[in-house]
Amino acid sequence: MELKEKLVSSFMAFEDRIDIDSPVHDIRSEAMKTFETDGFPGKKNEDWKYTSLKSVLKHDYSVFPKQENHIDYQQVKKYFIHDIDTYKIVFVDGKYSSYLSETTHEGIDVCLMSSALNKPKYRLIIENYFNKIAGKDSITSLNTAFSQEGAYIHIPKNKLVAKPIQIIHFATGNESALMLQPRNLIVVDENSHVQIVERHQSLTENPVLTNSVTEIYANKRAIVDYYKIQNDNEHASLIDNTFINQRQESFASLHTFSFGGKLTRNNLSFFQNGERVDSTLKGVTIIGGKQHVDHNTLVHHIEPNCESHQDYKGIFADSSTGVFNGKVLVNKEAQKTNAFQANNNILVSDKASINTKPQLEIFADDVKCSHGCTIGQLDETAMFYMRSRGIPEKEAKALLMFAFSNNVLSSVKIPEIKERITKIIAHKLGVNIGFDL
């Protein structure tokens, strides 16, 4: 059975198990209709021109895991940022794992989507925020239709969340092939500040497909600092859809570090629904093998006096392929917008390829928008300089690549994450570098 048909029929089974009288369910059925009509995007779809889901969709994924699977903390400790105190929301095969998690309701809500959807005290938040900015494309709709579990984070007014929040999704692979559809909702109210780290990790050689949707609302003067670490094994694929709505004077930054996974597609959309908003989108991609990473970003400048900064770096080895499709849209009303976009790529191997499409669509005249995009190699004179001073080729290359990605790394605000990323990069490049950039 085709995956699409399977999902459509699973939806009926899904309906038997949930409260179909809630208003959320109307949203789900509506979304299911969209998915039924549009199906999975093909190559004809301009947004998916360079990314084919064919190889990912061929597996017979089980949509609902049959049993609860336990994993031992020691076994997965390395996937946590364990050297600092954090809140943790952990899922195993899509099910909440209470013993690995550390949630809270004290002053702030760091808990579960399922309880937010069902408990009356969250009704207002769900009504106001759930699925309000998530896209209406077929992939996001598919997630919306099955939305039930994920992280729910609500930070009320004037709170500075003392420690970072980790959201981790594990896949154990006790099923032959697993499809996960986590749905996260993050609402940060006036003057509040939060740091979040998100990670998807498969612990199996069975194929895993994750179609994740995260909605983030940064209200007036809120600060949201979000990190996505994508270092999954080569059998796992991820379609990550993240939507961020920003109110006036809010500050949101999102870093994506893509090192692993078979196919990774990041759909990232920022909507600047207020004046004097600042958005930062940064990413480092270092891949090899037959990996594929696609960054599809949108920054929609709706109100005047806003800024956006995009900086994506990519290093592609072996037969890996990379895609960058960045779009900056400036509405007529969004005067005095400053939008910057940069995409730099290095191809290390003959078989690697990169397709990039940085777009600007501008309807306002008093703006400063620019984009730059380069594809090239490591500077030979710099290589020669280091080699002549006794630095081996491998280390010299690694140094240059570190320097290349440093712009992105330097704006990471949690030192432990920076350290972790540096280690992953060093490991990825096969060198042992003991310095801090």
């Binding site: 003959d350 390829s353 990039t356 600007l360 501008i362 005249d365 400063k368 995009c373 594809i375």
Partner: protein, 481 residues
């Protein structure tokens, strides 16, 4: 049942009389509509050989299967292809008897462009009394070209006189089935230019459609085929700066350039078709397919200044097939009022050490939309390919839009690609600076726009550049808010 060539031949035989009828009729305009008979009719009218008729029919059949493309960032009412007459013989009768009858607005523009009296008359379709001049010029030109072995004539004439060349190269760069408009053009093209530069010849003058102006109006489906044989050089100018008040709404031209080993082609265009009035009514739809192929060490350089047309859809491209070949694209696109332009280029790097440069300047004013759409593709075997692209947009007024859609596909690690784009408006401080020094705002803007487009204007042949500069000023007149 499958329709075979034999069937067609049979049909042609039996239907001969019918076509004879077409040739016999007095009126030189075909009734509106498009079908195989019309395509055959056009071919017949132009006394083309059978292979040409076949070629057109093949294109027509392909066209019928195709759909009008919708991906471009333009909105317009789709032309009804059955409501257009696909052939009308060039009107030899002058429209006016003297310049006094011509629209004064048009004359004013001529004056600003500094076009000579005679040329003004020619362009406005006024009966010429001093034709001798231009004829003699044309003959001298022809003599010089003839001595060098350069063939430069209308494509219909070339089909008759040099069928071997046309047959060998026509459709090799832009195949009949390339796209919707190219297929339409292949089926119904009325006329165009043909140019062949023999081996090692440097064409001594700028070839231009200018001096053919009184020979034939080329009509709405123009076809140009330019072949530069090994080691030759040619600079070709197309169009003119004078506003063309053409009645045809749809223009679908095809231009094919072939640069053989070590050859160089410089192709410059100034397009100033009627853009419609200030409310966006009327105006020409300009859907053009232009493409050139470079063999070893060859170079093709496209330079264009686009100021006219209600809707422009145009991507002059280079296929850098040979090693060490070079492709260049320099463009200025100006849109004002309700004009829409979706233009750019494609650079396909196939050979080793190929280089391409793209400089695109978009200026939008009024309520217009101006898009750059480009592709830089580095094939897996294109070692050491180099590309530099720069797309700058200038916005004037808050009701226009500027868009950039660059596609970059690199499949070789030795490729070096740089792309940069900026969007900005004319700085208030810049205008203030000019005002302070006694330059009024309108002049100041002209000055700034000229500075902005200088990189491209410099690439135009001298006399064209001067006119193009003035043209920019005129196009943006009244856009200062």
């Amino acid at each position: 049942m499958k329709y075979t060539e034999d069937d067609l031949r049979e049909e042609l035989k039996t239907k001969e009389y019918e076509y004879g009828f077409y040739t016999d009729i007095e009126s030189d305009t075909f009734p509106a509509g498009l079908n195989e008979d019309v395509v055959r009719g056009i071919s017949k009218k132009k006394e083309e050989p059978e292979w040409m008729t076949e070629w057109r029919l093949e294109a027509f059949r392909a066209w019928q299967e195709m759909e009008e493309p919708e991906w471009a960032n333009v909105n317009y009412e789709k032309p009804d292809f059955q409501a257009i007459s696909y052939y009308s013989a060039p009107n030899s009768k002058p429209k006016y008897d003297s310049l006094d009858e011509v629209d004064p607005e048009l004359l004013e523009t001529f004056k600003k462009l500094g076009i000579s009296m005679d040329e003004q008359k020619m362009l406005a379709g006024v009966a010429m009394d001093v034709v001798i001049d231009s004829v003699s010029v044309a003959t001298t030109f022809k003599k010089t070209l003839g001595e060098k072995g350069i063939i430069f004539m209308s494509i219909s004439q070339a089909i008759k006189e040099h069928p071997e060349l046309v047959r060998k190269y026509l459709g090799t760069v832009v195949p009949q089935k390339d796209n919707f408009y190219a297929a339409l053009n292949s089926a119904v093209f009325s006329d165009g230019s043909f140019c062949y530069i023999p081996k090692g010849v440097k064409c001594p003058m700028e070839l231009s459609t200018y001096f053919r102006i009184n020979q034939a109006g080329t009509g709405q489906f123009e076809r140009t085929l330019l072949i530069a044989d090994e080691g030759s050089y040619v600079s070709y100018l197309e169009g003119c700066t004078a506003p063309s008040r053409d009645e045809n709404q749809l223009h679908a031209a095809v231009v094919e350039l072939i640069a053989m080993d070590d050859a160089e082609i410089k192709y410059s265009t100034v397009q100033n078709w009627y853009p419609g009035n200030s409310e966006g009514k009327g105006g020409v739809f300009n859907f053009v397919t232009k493409r050139g192929i470079c063999e070893k060490n060859a170079k093709i350089s496209w330079t264009q200044v686009e100021t006219g047309s209600a809707v422009t859809w145009k991507y002059p491209s280079c296929i850098l097939k040979g090693d060490n070949s070079v492709g260049e694209f320099y463009s200025i696109a100006v849109t004002n009022n309700y004009q829409q332009a979706d233009t750019g280029t494609k650079m396909i790097h196939l050979g080793k050490n190929t280089k391409s440069t793209i400089i695109s300047k978009g200026i939008s004013a009024g309520k217009s939309q101006n898009s750059y759409r480009g592709l830089v593709q580095i094939a897996a075997r294109a070692e050491n390919a180099r590309n530099f692209s720069q797309c700058d947009s200038l916005l004037m007024g808050n009701e226009c839009g500027a868009h950039t859609f660059p596609y970059i596909e690199a499949n070789n690690k030795t490729a070096i690609i740089e792309h940069e784009a900026t969007t900005s408006k004319i700085g208030e401080d810049q205008i203030f600076y000019c005002n302070q020094r006694g330059i009024d705002t309108e002049k100041a803007i002209a000055l700034i726009v000229n500075g902005f487009s200088k990189e491209v204007l410099n690439k135009l042949p001298m006399e064209f550049a001067v006119e193009a500069q003035k043209l920019l000023e005129i196009s943006l007149e009244g856009s200062v808010g």
